[in-house]
């Protein structure tokens, strides 16, 4: 049994994959007649340097951390939760319902936690049903979660153009969150302490995202429950042998996964728009799969991967803005290449690395 040193496995190989993805993207940029160095400069400026750019990048990062964590928790149980998109969507509904019910009476200090709980609960509920079907009826989680994305979208369209639609306008949008149910934006919050920050939708959710990262790490690696979960994910026969109640674990794992996905809504709905809009998860649930894969299902990796994808998203829209020839599709192409090289082809360099760096680990 050979194993690569950690710095190669977790640092060098991902960096090489990333470099390769950018190199291929550079070739494409050259083919359409632009200078890849210029494009990269614009992207970096757009993602980090311009006023408010970093805020936007981190705002996207926050959403991706939640969905990435959601997918990763399911991964640890060897479940492929494709339904983060739908769970986030329903999470928005959960937050909205709590807000509409209570925001006239309760102060912010209570409203925010309650709305988060509402979002998490609805996300969990939307994952519980596929989880239960997988655990007790053997319906494959991939199929059911995909279907639940569609069902969820259908329900939301119905509500947003129906009973929850804000009167007096013609968009399928919900009633509004009042100020006491909105997540404070950081440029406002820090402004009060005299710290100037460019305007961006970056809000307090990023703190909750960081807490969620720590919580997931604690849960997966430092609790008995997490141990049982990882055992089940790594070897179901071993889990049966160890007396782990496998069906119950599947349901619980899916609920936690769904709750995290649902919490993505607090960033967008409560932190930015102040209302639930049609299709607000905007593919972040699916990008979360790539984030979890690239982050090796570890919170630290997920933070880094979410930052990368967040920067791509923000820098990419700047690219679209600056160049006539480069469109949003180009950014999708780069994303696709990154997913291709660090997901599907992530093991490409491994045999080559093993020949050079493998250590023998045998008794």
């Amino acid at each position: 049994m050979t194993r690569l040193p950690a710095w190669i496995e977790y640092l060098l190989i991902p960096l090489m994959n990333l470099t390769l993805a950018f190199a291929v993207a550079a070739v494409v940029v050259m083919l359409i007649g632009e200078n890849p160095i210029d494009a990269l400069t614009v992207m970096i400026n757009g993602a980090f340097v311009y006023e408010g750019a970093l805020g936007y990048t981190l705002y996207y990062t926050t959403s991706l951390i939640f969905t990435g964590l959601a997918v990763s928790v399911a991964f640890h149980a060897s479940l492929f939760n494709i339904g983060a998109e739908g769970q986030a969507y329903l999470g928005g509904l959960g937050a909205l319902l709590v807000a509409l019910m209570l925001q006239d009476w309760l102060p912010m200090i209570l409203m925010i936690p309650l709305c988060i709980i509402g979002a998490a609960a609805f996300g969990a509920l939307w994952a519980l049903i596929p989880g239960w079907l997988q655990a007790y009826r053997g319906s494959h989680i991939v199929i059911t979660t995909i279907m639940f994305n569609f069902i969820g979208a259908g329900i939301m369209v119905g509500l947003l153009s129906g009973s929850l639609m804000r009167p007096g306008q013609s968009n399928p949008e919900s009633l509004l969150f009042e100020d006491n149910a909105r997540m404070p934006q950081l440029h406002n919050l820090l402004g009060e302490f005299g710290i100037e920050l460019g305007r961006s939708p970056l809000n307090l959710s990023i703190v909750f995202a960081a807490l969620a990262c720590f919580g997931v790490w604690l849960l997966i690696w430092r609790t008995r429950w997490g141990y049982a979960l990882r055992t089940m994910g790594a070897s179901e026969p071993a889990a049966h042998y160890a007396g782990v109640p496998v069906p119950r674990m599947i349901v619980t794992a899916m609920c936690i996964s769904g709750a995290l996905a649902g919490m993505m809504a607090i960033n967008t709905v409560m932190g930015d728009q102040g209302k639930v809009t049609l299709g607000f998860p905007a593919g972040f649930g699916f990008t979360g799969i790539a984030v979890a894969l690239m982050g090796r299902s570890h919170p630290v990796g997920i933070i880094l991967a979410a930052l990368l994808f967040g920067a791509l998203l923000q820098g990419g829209s700047e690219l679209d803005f600056e160049f006539q020839t480069i469109t949003r599709e180009m950014v999708l192409l780069i994303q696709g290449l990154i997913i291709l090289f660090s997901g599907a082809l992530s093991l490409m360099f491994v045999p080559w690395m093993e020949r050079r760096f493998a250590r023998k680990e045998i008794a």
Partner: protein, 534 residues
């Protein structure tokens, strides 16, 4: 110190005919692992030659190079005195080398004839090829005494006969040098005897047989010469008549080993576990256990003998709570477990039942997990792992270090993934985990499968020590020698039933062997066990 015979000397003893196989200085590395280190091997024509060594000693690599699965990094091969380059199995077959793999490569729902014909169909339509193969089978059967019904469907045949088909396949392709890789793993003692008769018959016809095994008994019984491998090197070549089991064991391991575990006699205590009329149906309603009853007493080892796949695994599953009790009941103290009062492995651990599973890779360990995590598998809710709902790495580390020291598990690195340990040390880790809570009942499945000789004696001594401490032990093993060495009582399983029980003192090797085969010795025992034994 052992005097090691040089390979050259070995060939001088035989006639002046060139040896069937002559390997010189074969070296093969995989990454940083040297699987074969300057290996020499001379196999005289028309002999049965054994290659013995522990798991990972490089036996399989040598024959894989000979059969063209791997190409050696350096070294030369001569077949019948002629230099040979063998880069794939077609080359090997062309030079008259045939191989029978440990896991048979037969199409189960084809007939014997169709299987033997595979690869030599001779044209688009099968009629001509079939006729030719039928004639050829008849000739081989006459010549070598290998009698098989050509029209029988392979999956309906006993394992011993299936193996015969594999040999026929090789001979049909003109093999004069036959490589057999661990051929007896799936055979009953009786089938093994008959298999050895076949090998002797082949030898009489001038076929050279290369027998790869880790069983000393087989080497002593059937081979003319034997080569011993250890850690990728050939450490000795011996004439079988001039060596002993003890000497070979010492050569394999590199130090003196006890081949027998001293038996400890203790007075048996009360009944610890009783199973009454357990019947269990697997998928598709096939009965895998029929009316199995047994009693385990404190301070006693009950050995359960049988060819793999005759219900032992299912019995262990039911007794350990992994599979539900369907019919019948299990009684442990005051607790009665039946269809209406189900249990689970966690409850049984609480009742003092420890389980060493048959398959440590699938069940006993989570291979990518660190050793210290594996050291609490099944006990992760217990006190050795931390406080409250949390799991403390420090507690895991300390617990694992204790186990590693007490059970001599190497390397003593609790953070190393379980997959990084040798088979013997993995098994010791599982044994350590199960023994440490001092259970009152132990269910032990195949405790020494794939474990080297040194590890076997250690594990046997531990099992014996548990018995002496008053534990009731059920020992399931396909190695009859192991059952005989450890048990106080022996029960034999065949086709899901316990077909006989005897005390160790009255046990007769041959009698048990016949019962394992289904008494008549020709029953359908063991068909389902195909490929189960590693």
């Amino acid at each position: 110190m052992i005097n090691e015979t040089r390979p050259r000397k070995q060939s001088e003893a035989v006639s002046n005919m060139p040896p069937a196989v002559y390997l010189q200085n074969i070296t093969k590395t995989f990454g940083a692992v040297v699987a074969n280190d300057s290996v020499d091997l001379t196999v005289p024509t028309g002999t049965i030659h054994g290659i013995i060594g522990e798991n990972g000693a490089g036996k399989s690599t040598v024959v894989s190079i000979l059969y063209g699965f791997y190409t050696a990094d350096s070294g030369s091969i001569e077949i019948n005195g002629e230099p040979a380059t063998i880069t794939n199995s077609a080359d090997a077959i062309e030079r008259g080398i045939g191989m029978v793999h440990q896991h048979f490569m037969l199409v189960p729902n084809f007939t014997v004839l169709e299987n033997v014909m595979l690869g030599s169909e001779d044209g688009f339509f099968l009629r001509k090829g079939k006729a030719a193969t039928r004639k050829e089978l008849q000739r081989l059967s006459d010549e070598y005494g290998l009698d098989v019904d050509p029209d029988a469907v392979v999956e309906t045949l006993p394992v011993g006969i299936q193996q015969r088909v594999e040999i026929l396949k090789a001979l049909r392709r003109g093999a004069r040098i036959l490589i057999l890789d661990e051929p007896t793993g799936v055979l009953t003692p009786d089938e093994t005897d008959r298999f050895f008769d076949i090998l002797r018959g082949l030898r009489a016809q001038g076929v050279t047989v290369l027998l790869i095994t880790h069983k000393l008994r087989e080497i002593m019984e059937v081979t003319d010469g034997v080569s011993v491998m250890r850690r990728g090197k050939m450490v000795a070549h011996k004439q079988t008549s001039e060596t002993t089991r003890e000497e070979l064991a010492e050569l394999m391991v590199g130090r003196r080993v006890e081949l027998t575990t001293p038996r400890i006699h203790v007075d048996t205590g009360p009944i610890a576990l009783e199973a009454r009329n357990l019947t269990w149906h697997g998928a598709r309603g096939v009965a895998r256990l029929r009316n199995v009853s047994l009693i385990l007493r404190a301070g006693e080892i009950l050995g359960l003998a049988g060819v793999s796949g005759n219900g032992q695994s299912e019995l262990l599953d039911v007794l350990s709570g992994i599979a539900p009790v369907q019919e019948g009941q299990i009684i442990i103290g005051n607790r009665i477990i039946n269809n209406n009062t189900p249990t689970d492995p966690a409850e049984l651990r609480g009742l003092g039942v420890a389980h060493v599973p048959e398959d440590r890779h699938k069940r006993g360990l989570v291979l990518p997990f660190e050793a210290r995590e594996n050291a609490v598998l099944g006990y992760h809710t217990g006190p050795n792992t931390g406080e409250g709902r949390f799991l403390s790495p420090r507690a895991l580390q300390g617990h694992c270090e204790t186990l590693m020291e007490r059970f001599d598990i190497r390397p003593t690195n609790p953070k190393l993934a379980a997959a990084g340990f040798s088979g013997g040390n993995q098994q010791k880790l599982v044994m350590a985990r199960e023994i440490e809570p001092e259970p009152s009942i132990m269910l032990i499945g195949q405790p020494t499968r794939g474990v080297d000789i040194g590890g076997i004696s250690f594990i046997h001594a531990e099992i014996m020590a548990r018995k002496a401490a008053g534990c009731a032990i059920l020992l399931v093993s396909v190695e009859l020698d192991e059952i005989m060495a450890l048990s106080d009582r022996i029960a034999v399983m065949n086709a899901g039933e316990i077909v006989g029980e005897t005390t160790r003192d009255n046990a007769d090797y041959r009698q048990i062997g016949l019962m394992m085969a289904g008494v008549s010795g020709t029953g359908d025992a063991g068909i389902s066990g195909m490929g189960d034994t590693a």
